[in-house]
Amino acid sequence: MTNHWIDYQHSDVIMAIGVNTAENHPMSMRWIDRARERGAKLISIDPRLTRTAAVADIWLPLRPGTDIALLGGLINYTFTNKLYQREYILNYTNASYILDPSYSFADGVFSGLADDTYNRDTWKYDLDRDGNPRKDLTLENPRCVFQVMKAHYARYDADTVCNIVGCNLQDFQLVAKTFCATGAPDKAGNILYAMGITQSTHGSQNVRGTAVLQLLLGNIGIPGGGVNAQRGEANVQGSTDMAMLFHILPGYLNMPQAMTHPTLADYNAKETPASSYWSNKPKFLVSLLKAWWGKMATGDNEFCYNWIPKLDGKNRSHIAIFESMAKGQIQGMFVWGQNPAVGGPQAELERKALENLDWMVAVDLFETETASFWRRPKVDSETIKTEVFLLPAAASYEKDGSVSNSGRWIQWRHKAVQPPEDAKSDLWIADQLYKAIRYHYSLGGVFPDPILGLNWDYGQGEEEPDIEKVALEINGYETGSLKPLENFTKLADDGSTACGCWIYSGYYNDLEVPPTKRRIREQKGIGIHAEWAFAWPLNRRILYNRCASDPAGKPWNPKTPLIYWEGGEWQLKDVPDFAWKDTPPEKTAQSPFIMLPELQARLFSPGMADGPFPEHYEPAESPVRNALSPQQNNPAITWWQGLGELASKEEFPYIGTTYRVSEHWQSGIMTRNSPWLGEMAPEMFVEISVELGEKLGISNSSQVLVSTRRGEIKAVAYVTRRLKPMMVGNKLVEIVGMPWHWGYRGLFPGDSANVLTPHVGDPNTTIPEYKAFLCNIRRA
């Protein structure tokens, strides 16, 4: 999130696109209602009339997978009615940059496409002699980003958009008029999004669409504004920061690639940009290596740089792991507090792939579907060779530790009770696992150095490891005096400092009252709560907050001033996101986005894998042709072998989409073991419209079979008026909605919807496309 939950109260219009906020983030409604008491409007954009849409002011039904078409329409509406905030985009974004003549866009494809990957050399600015991009501050030049964008989105006129999205013109114009009015300087528009737009083969571009719209309307960096991702789990923000992902190291440092970064020097040279805060990347990497390998990491062995495994350039994300597991290339697997047998795409293929494992270690609170794949229904256990260790873990209040919520707040959890019987905290399990592996490698083995050299002494024998030592290591300390670092501005690249995750530095820098444990509410102010816990980076609560005031330093919205220039100095209500120390506003007006090389926001973003501008493409399996360009799908998708052949719209005519209910959570293993929650939502069900029910003779609450190319599941049908057929082009398209919480374990078992979802993902992040695929439904 760029802002945080409490900041919603300052919004004037809140657009919830691809998020069912009342059901899946109920507490957000508390702050949305505070905003609505001041007259704010809530717009819910969702294929179904969800509980959010039921309480929202405006509901716009939309065909799953067509979010860019809608956002493109809103961008076009902003351009045609000149609702953009001119002064904001002139100073804070790259709208005025002139593009290189080699860049072009035709028939839905950007320049530089070579079969399924883009060669991004042509996506660059037109540089003058000494290498700075040429700008046209009048925004008239047809090659400047502003004009190119205007032409690009001119194709998204209202009728085409309504044709693609399947909504009627009045609804679209009402949404456009309401939301794009927040382009006014003193108005704050807020976009909430979640899996509804990310789980698609153009998920990253969907999110870019929201960012571009917010930049045009000047809503980034202001209180009540921003692009706010409402994440699904308690510490998904923290686990992403700690880099439990194949392509990064803690603190979003890219993993070294074998071909391009053989040595530390190569890594620093290729990965460190000249300008922006990322120019300190060598400090972050060396500090990380010192934190991991302590005294072993010295200047002459490149701080053990080579002990980090190097990637082979191939994708190793969730889908790739299960694809290679299906081919038998993976023998052992750790599944730590996760349930891919229900949550993963194409679940039947993934459960089958698990059978190729020699051994699996699963750690969880309950017996999950993943840990018991070998005794799932319709499977003969005796033919499965996998050895499974199922370790009991402690629940959230049975152990200490910190978690980061969507608003980047790192909050501490205290241990209230002992875990039951043999259950242990994950910290203890990891500590014991390391000690056992170290013992076995001390007796010899292949290249044991990185294991034996680890800087790891958090506890003796079988006692609970001291979590404060781990927190100090993450926070960073001086290797000489072991004194905790104040924050990441103190990091050095000569090995004198060690820091496990540079963005978290400062969260545990004082043993007396560590910032993450602070509990001081804000007395007066606009709800920043600067002394409640710690928000990475540097306890900054609203990112890019230089944009909260105009280039001269006057706040855009005097009612909620954040950072402004008054009486010859900066008035700071939040940690500033720019070099503010005694520099007048004019000097900082051109550099509000300190993490980007241009130091200005990117309307034109050359860094994306599938295009500098968001462009609408149909989902992988779609019932209609792409009405905007001949390019049916996102050209940069990797088509995995496990996906098999795509569904044809004759055989599977209806759009399938998966979502959640507020009584259950994720794979349901925690909530389906609670009797009262299960009683409220006992069985797997699918939602279809009344019209489809009549056409297929499916009566309400009757058994149905839903099938796709990948598999078939049984469920109860809920024939409802909350889901309507959509007029797309000249065809009526039907939607089948499925919650995905059920699995074959727990008190309330049921078929898993993810048996139906495809193994195809987004080019940038390979997040699977759960939200739009083709399926068929018939009476059981």
Partner: protein, 194 residues
């Protein structure tokens, strides 16, 4: 008669005055003979969605009595949604037959092991499990370790995968990242990607 005040009890305000005047002596008052139970209020953060609502766990002599919203927490200000309100059930549920609170029977409380081709779980202890897991990791890593790949030191193993978790705390995720990378694992991912 001299109205004296019981020296050893320091009461405050009106209570002190009236106690002295009315002169009640507490010793034989039955209420004072009852034992005091001690309880602890501990703050935690809800493990479900990512709002980060604060909750207070009320623990009486080692048993979890109730989990309610943390009134000081600025995000939820004492309120919890239906999943948050049923947080107690992760640890303690009410048994309708014996009419007392007990540990949730579905919770895993023992280390379970499934031998190859077996049909059942067997209960083991921690030390045995850790030792066996370490052996398995060592065997698989040693068999599949690549030190070099066309001239470049890579130090990796493709044969072990790790699906880490968004349900774990930051410190736990950090230790796992550190451990798995030191083993040379590149197949490392978790459900932030799903």
């Amino acid at each position: 008669m001299k109205v004296t005040r019981r020296e050893f009890f320091k009461l405050t305000g009106l209570a002190a005055l009236t106690a002295a005047v009315v002169g009640c002596d507490w010793d034989e008052d039955p209420i004072l003979s009852q034992p005091l139970t001690d309880a602890k209020e501990v703050t935690t953060i809800c493990p479900y969605c990512s709002c980060g609502c604060g909750a207070i766990c009320y623990v009486a002599n080692g048993k979890l009595v109730s989990v309610s919203g943390d009134p000081d927490h600025p995000i939820n200000e004492g309120a919890l949604c239906s999943k948050g309100a049923s947080l107690l059930n992760l640890n303690t549920v009410y048994n309708f037959r014996t009419h007392n609170a007990e540990i949730n029977p579905n919770r895993l409380t023992k280390v379970l092991y499934r031998a190859p081709y077996s049909k059942v779980w067997e209960e083991k202890n921690w030390r045995w499990a850790m030792d066996k897991i370490a052996k398995r990791v060592k065997e698989t890593r040693d068999a599949s370790f690549e030190a070099q790949a066309d001239g470049v030191t890579v130090n990796r193993t493709m044969a072990i995968a790790h699906l880490g978790s968004a349900a774990l705390d930051n410190e736990e995720n950090y230790l796992l990242a550190k451990l798995m990378r030191s083993l040379g694992i590149v197949n490392l991912d978790h459900h932030a990607r799903l």
